[in-house]
Symmetry: none
Subunit: 243 residues, 2 copies
């Protein structure tokens, strides 16, 4: 029997190991959002490492936005707020087309599932919020930043209609990444008109409560949006530089 799946050769630095330990403990619910971590000295003693190592690990989590520290006041697990999380990743997103394709696949899957659940669970308030977003998109079709903002909210409100916290969070993460890219797509004015049409179809499907047509409408929209973006990127032969 071939030893194909041995160990991923856990060779790593102590600091990164501590980061993993801490995040594991957070996932296990030992430290949940809003609660305080032990002091650096205690952590160092518990893990059997020096304080510098602990500090490097904690600072990593602060930079990512998972923790918050106050000089003299300890470290705290932050409340979930996808906004700030993704802010930390802004600089890394000089995507290659390959990354964009991976992201599109995930987005297609997650958002179409959101659309399905939304069709099954939406209430009056959900529909109203989604409608409003769409209406605002139409009204601001001339103003790119506003348009994108309402486009974003449209998708976010659909996620909220699922009443599933994790989907809401996933969709929020996706939106905040997608948002970094789409200003470029708007160079082509036709983009926005098509987007509005596709959003109308999605809204109609969710309002009628039909899961499978909601999936299809959302799927179509996400894939088409990615195609439009790809076309713009290719035309400008900008090798995907600054956001």
């Amino acid at each position: 029997m071939p030893q194909d799946n041995i160990r991923p050769v856990g060779r790593t630095t102590l600091t990164q190991a501590i980061v993993n330990e801490i995040t594991d403990l957070m996932m296990k619910g030992v430290w949940r959002p809003g609660s305080a971590l032990p002091s650096e000295k205690e952590l160092a003693a518990s893990f059997g490492v020096g304080r510098s190592t602990i500090r490097e690990a904690l600072q990593s989590l602060v930079t990512i936005g998972v923790l918050e520290t106050r000089a003299g006041g300890g470290a705290w697990v932050r409340e979930p707020n996808s906004q700030l999380l993704s802010g930390a990743f802004r600089w890394g997103l000089l995507l290659s087309p390959h990354n964009l394709q991976d992201l599109t696949e995930v987005r297609t899957s997650v958002e179409s599932e959101c659309a399905r659940l939304a069709a099954e669970r939406r209430d009056e308030a959900d529909i109203r919020r989604i409608e409003e977003s769409l209406e605002c998109m139409r009204r601001h079709r001339a103003d790119d930043p506003s348009f994108m903002e309402w486009d974003n909210r449209f998708h976010q409100h659909i996620a909220q209609a699922t009443k599933n916290e994790i989907f809401i969070n996933l969709a929020g993460t996706i939106q905040s990444i997608v948002r970094l890219w789409y200003p470029r797509a708007y160079r082509n004015p036709e983009t926005k008109e098509r987007a509005i049409e596709e959003h109308e179809a999605i809204l109609a499907a969710i309002r009628s409560g039909d899961p499978s047509s909601s999936i299809m409408a959302m799927r179509f929209h996400v894939i088409e949006a990615a195609n439009r973006l790809n076309r713009v990127l290719r035309e400008h032969t900008e090798t995907g530089k600054e956001p």
Copy 2:
């Protein structure tokens, strides 16, 4: 009218300031992917701070995945890859509250999509790895921790067969959360036998390259596994809260 907007007061720590400086320089193209950064000592001198501060900043960027360090060899800017994107999802999931039902919904969606893509893209090596995991599950059906470990790898190898790094990471994160609940499900010995049968069906579907039957097999398995777990939890009147 309340003074809502008085406090920008950007006071921050030196470490975080250095993180911003470095990322700014990277975005300006001073340090491009593949190039090496100055040594920690030089950076400390240039920025006029201590080496610890520089190290905390660099380690943050290593954790995020923007940099790579080699002991004795310096720090390098990494090529942009999907790991950055995966991180965003991972940290988001870490903070969002996870109850079993929400989690099961998300898991069903993500893993069945993985199964679909795996059926379309799997190569010989993928199939072999998945088969091996299943074989090991059979061999360790008496040892709960080992069994769960191989169960985990089975799912992980399916994710790998998608060749989509974001899905691989997302599935892994979900696995590690799910893993917190499942030791309890094994109190019922029948659980493991059923799991093996369901895994066999998934493997067969993926091996035959049939996307839709792969989706169904995975969907069935995830939902059934959740049902079994719920049954155990209810018997023990442990309310389905956090682990």
